[in-house]
């Protein structure tokens, strides 16, 4: 079975070409700029490097970064896995909308999330005002202090969707009869889950956990704003060293440390994941999901819907409500104001323009990420190694981990890397290349595409493709009609995340100097940079537009169907 894997991808060298190109992409657009900034940072020697490594503070920050990331990952899995199960196994009204809503937090700028939490839980937030009115209290009863609790809550808020989609998407095509067979053989429900379902899900759960860990390990805005400045991840310290002090050597050392941890963790994961895949027949989602029956199932579905509504939707709703509350009560005033150039500024940007900038960059990002990510996933999923434990297997594990690296690399450092790499007279013209931002975004999106695809690719039952080949189908035809429909849900999951990463990302677009083509998040930041009711109101209105755009895009993306597929 090992030797006769997917027909199109029989291990001829030529089949490795697309994957090789994907690797070349990583070298050119990631390692080259990274090398440029590291080279410049250490041009004057390694004194700063050793100083950072000898400083206790570095290791305390590293410890905190890792600990809060581990806690965040664990908490997100605990909250998210039941949700993934419910979305995979049950049909219920509003399911698609809820799944889209669950993904909205992922694109929200942290300043806005902080404002949303303020609008909901702050001393004059909706809940406190409501409680005060209800019980006639003189003081706001609820006060949520910044700190680790809020950081963990926010990380769960942001990453819930990763579990829902990465694990839920995989789970939705898993044959429930395996579990039923175990039950028939006398296994308890818990034992069937533990010994049958969980092992089958392990690659997908691991993928989600790895992504969440790296994402929160390099967390910046959430830790800085909601944790308060007393908390610092490596990324926060890198930003401080760079922006205020321009101590590139110190920043680069910390960035290397951060990337090193990411690489190590990814290596451990890829080693485990490559061994844990089990080829399976996958069922269409229509055959797997059903309506909940009985009290227990209704309760389970209801509880998870409640989690999404309370944890994810209420802060977002508070934001929308706040954006509709003008000085004289309910109005669309702030939305209408977005369309007027009130101060006659030469830099006025209409909301539709910012929206189209955002969508254009996000679509380009999704396309690049898929064009690079799919071949990369095939390369990794069908490594031409006879033994996974050989040097060949080790090399492919390393390549896999390298593809994860952009997610764990400091955005501040990489942004400066692009600047330095492109600041030679020969390459300077490329700095205003419009594809530069989608390219930078797609680096961060790639890990999501690859992680979404790999568990599915490794779990494909090769006999399906073999049967098609026996019946005379050409390799290309087999891929298009047999394999593509089977991996399509994973491709869509990857595309959704690539799109989302770009839609919410403002770091790279701020770091790469560009002529004025601001996206929605950039506009939100500009509005929040000036005092005054109308600026605040417009920022919230713009955030609501961003949320709506995200939700609608998700629903639209999920409607893409491959030929002949029933997902």
């Amino acid at each position: 079975m090992k030797t006769l894997r997917l027909s199109v991808l029989a291990s001829k060298p030529i089949r490795l070409l697309p994957g090789g190109l994907a690797l070349a992409f990583l070298l050119v657009f990631f390692f080259y700029p990274l090398g440029a900034i590291l080279g410049l940072s250490f041009a004057e020697g390694l004194a700063g490097f050793w100083a950072v490594l000898r400083d206790d503070y570095t290791w305390r920050v590293l410890g905190f970064s890792a600990a809060q990331a581990a806690l965040s990952t664990l908490l997100t899995l605990l909250v998210g896995l039941p949700g993934a199960y419910v979305f995979a196994r049950y049909h219920f009204p509003g399911r698609e909308v809820l799944r889209a809503v669950a993904g909205v937090p992922f694109v929200m700028p942290t300043v806005v999330v902080a404002a949303a939490l303020g609008a909901l839980l702050g001393p004059r937030g909706l809940i406190n005002l409501g409680l005060q009115a209800l019980f006639d209290l003189p003081q706001p009863p609820l006060r949520i202090p910044n700190g680790l609790g809020l950081v963990l809550l926010a990380h769960t808020f942001y990453n819930y969707t990763v579990v829902l989609r990465m694990v839920g998407g995989f789970w939705a095509n898993l044959d429930p009869r395996l579990e039923q067979a175990a039950a028939l053989l006398g296994a308890s429900r818990w034992r069937a889950i533990r010994e049958v379902t969980l092992p089958l899900l392990a690659p997908a759960i691991g993928a989600a956990a790895l992504l969440i860990f790296i994402f929160t390990f390099t967390s910046f805005g959430v830790v800085m704003i909601l944790g308060g400045p007393r908390m610092a991840t490596l990324e926060v310290v890198i930003y401080r060293q760079t922006a205020q002090l321009l101590r590139l050597d110190l920043a680069a050392t910390l960035a290397l440390l951060q990337a090193g941890c990411t690489l190590l963790l990814s290596l451990i994961y890829t080693r485990l994941a490559a061994r844990s895949a089990i080829p399976l027949d996958r069922l269409p989602r229509t055959a797997v999901a059903r309506r909940p029956q009985g009290v227990a199932q209704h309760l389970l579905v209801g509880a998870n819907v409640l989690v999404i509504l309370v944890l994810l939707a209420t802060p977002l709703v508070a934001l929308v409500v706040r954006s509709l509350l003008g000085p004289e009560g309910l109005s669309l005033g702030y939305y209408l104001a977005l369309g007027e150039n009130r101060s006659n500024s030469a830099f006025f940007v209409a909301p539709l323009t910012a929206l189209s900038n955002s969508l254009r960059i996000a679509s380009a990002t999704a396309i690049i990420a898929l064009l690079v990510g799919i071949p990369a996933a095939y390369l990794l999923g069908n490594a031409p190694c006879k033994q996974p434990r050989s040097w060949c297997g080790a090399i492919f594990n390393l390549i896999d981990a390298l593809f994860m690296l952009p997610l764990g690399t400091s955005a501040v450092t990489l942004g400066l890397g692009y600047l330095v790499a492109l600041s030679t007279p020969q390459l300077a013209g490329l700095r205003s290349w419009p594809w530069l931002i989608p390219l930078a975004h797609s680096l961060v999106a790639l890990p999501f595409v690859i992680r979404a695809l790999l568990p599915t690719l490794r779990g494909l039952n090769p006999r399906l493709a073999e049967a098609a080949a026996l019946l005379g189908a050409s390799p290309w035809r087999t891929w298009l009609w047999i394999e593509l429909p089977l991996i399509m849900p994973a491709i869509i999951t990857g595309a959704v995340f690539a799109f989302t990463v770009s839609l919410g990302e403002f770091g790279a677009s701020l770091l790469l100097v560009r002529p004025d083509a601001p996206t929605l998040p950039v506009m939100i930041f500009r509005l929040l940079g000036q005092p005054g009711a109308i600026n605040y109101g417009q920022a919230l209105a713009m955030s609501s537009i961003l949320m709506l755009t995200t939700a609608v895009s998700f629903i639209a993306l999920e409607r893409i169907r491959p030929p002949g597929a029933e997902m």
Binding site: P229, R360, I534, I560
Partner: protein, 397 residues
């Protein structure tokens, strides 16, 4: 098959969207940042002219016939996100000189300067606006600017001209100071503090929000004000002051937006703290941006002795520019009355040119602190790293 066709169509559509990022798209009037006069321009404007390349753009408006050889050339200015100017004012410059202006906004003031320093072998722009006095020394040391003795400097007060070599020329200034929430203080029966020391007293416990100076420019400005006021030597230095502030539960926020909108009770965000480190023009901005709802500001300036810091913003011509002569024309323009009079309502800071008229909202509500902190750019650059790490040690760890 139908689905296949639908999928292909969709992919093509998406690709087309993606490609429109590559091909210059028609710039609607909104993004005409680079082209002030182009609000009704045809669609042939290249969206992304390259800074160092010979401009390929064709002026989309009638060029003044008496414009010299500079006509139709593009001048690129890099600046921070808060930079703003009226459409008419930029248009006036273009009409006068025939020069097109393109603006690259590249993050906050510190980030912009860092980018300019790191790209000095192939400059991103012809001019940089937005170096302030806290970064002046670093900018001069990096040696990225050309000196220009603009004739317009004669009208600018000497106290603003901090660079004797005229590589960086002052354009505007503003004051970082503490704002208070009038309504909250009144309802709590508190009168605003009258000194920085008052803020360490029990009645002001848990009432003040400051920004982290290692991540925020008003935060740094306020720290510098306290360093200047309390000094570095003696029994009670700035360090003791900050220890006391910490003991009095000062709230440290990472940036101005969070501090002002999420934590400060006087803003629309309605936070919990009635005092915040902001700008002396913020109360005026609250009135201006209230859409006529307010006739008096909801907030006030706490102009206590030593509690304010003056930020002066400078413009400089970047070394390596191919358009030094055009850049000089733009510097002169920035110091002219047309541009200077536009500054207050666009950026909520004061024009460097004293004769530039100020709007009513400024004369009414924007107060000028009497004795702002007196640190020189050299002192700031020399002290910055150590002060920041000491501050973090005292307040954060």
């Amino acid at each position: 098959m139908k689905r296949l066709i639908a999928l292909l169509t969709l992919t093509l559509l998406l690709t087309a969207c993606g490609q429109s990022a590559a091909t210059p798209t028609p710039v609607p009037s909104a993004t005409a940042a680079a082209y002030p006069a182009a609000s009704d321009a045809p669609t042939s404007i290249p969206a992304y002219p390259v800074a160092t390349d010979a401009p390929t753009s064709v002026p989309a408006y009638p060029v003044a016939t008496d414009a010299p050889a500079s006509a139709g050339q593009t001048l690129v200015i890099m600046t921070h996100d808060s930079f703003s100017v009226s459409e008419e004012v930029l248009a006036a410059f273009t009409a006068q000189t025939g020069i097109l202006v393109q603006v690259l906004k590249a993050g906050d003031a510190g980030t912009v300067l860092n980018q300019a320093i790191l790209s000095k072998n192939a400059p991103l722009a012809d001019l940089l606006f937005g170096v302030d006095n806290t970064f002046l020394s670093r900018a001069l040391e990096a040696d990225i600017f050309l000196s220009y003795d603009s004739p317009a400097l004669a009208a600018i007060p000497a106290e603003l001209r901090l660079d004797a070599s005229n590589r960086l020329l002052p354009v505007d200034y503003g004051y970082v100071t503490i704002n208070y929430d009038t309504a909250t203080l009144e309802s709590a029966g508190l009168t605003p503090p009258t000194s920085l020391e008052d803020l360490t007293k029990p009645e002001w416990r848990g009432k003040l929000v400051v920004e982290d100076p290692s991540t925020s420019s008003p935060g740094l400005a306020f720290l510098l004000a306290t360093i200047s006021h309390f000094g570095e030597e003696g029994d009670y230095t700035w360090k003791e002051y900050w220890r006391d502030l910490r003991a009095n539960e000062v709230f440290v926020s990472s940036g101005w937006s969070d501090a002002y909108y999420t934590q400060f009770s006087g803003s629309s965000g309605a936070g919990a703290y009635p005092l915040v480190v902001s700008y002396a023009t913020s109360p005026a901005a609250e009135v201006y941006f209230s859409e006529g709802a307010l006739s008096a500001p909801p907030t006030g300036n706490l102009l206590v002795p030593g509690g304010s810091f003056r930020q002066i913003e400078f413009v400089g011509i970047l070394k390596g520019t191919q358009h030094e002569d055009l850049a000089r024309q733009f510097v002169d323009f920035m110091l002219s009355e047309t541009f200077q009079a536009d500054i207050p309502l666009q950026m909520f800071v004061y024009p460097a040119l004293p004769s530039a008229p100020q709007p009513e909202v400024f004369t009414q509500f924007a107060e000028v602190p009497s004795q702002p902190a007196g640190l020189t750019p050299e002192q700031i650059e020399a002290g910055r790293e150590i002060w920041l790490s000491e501050w973090m040690e005292i307040v954060l760890r």
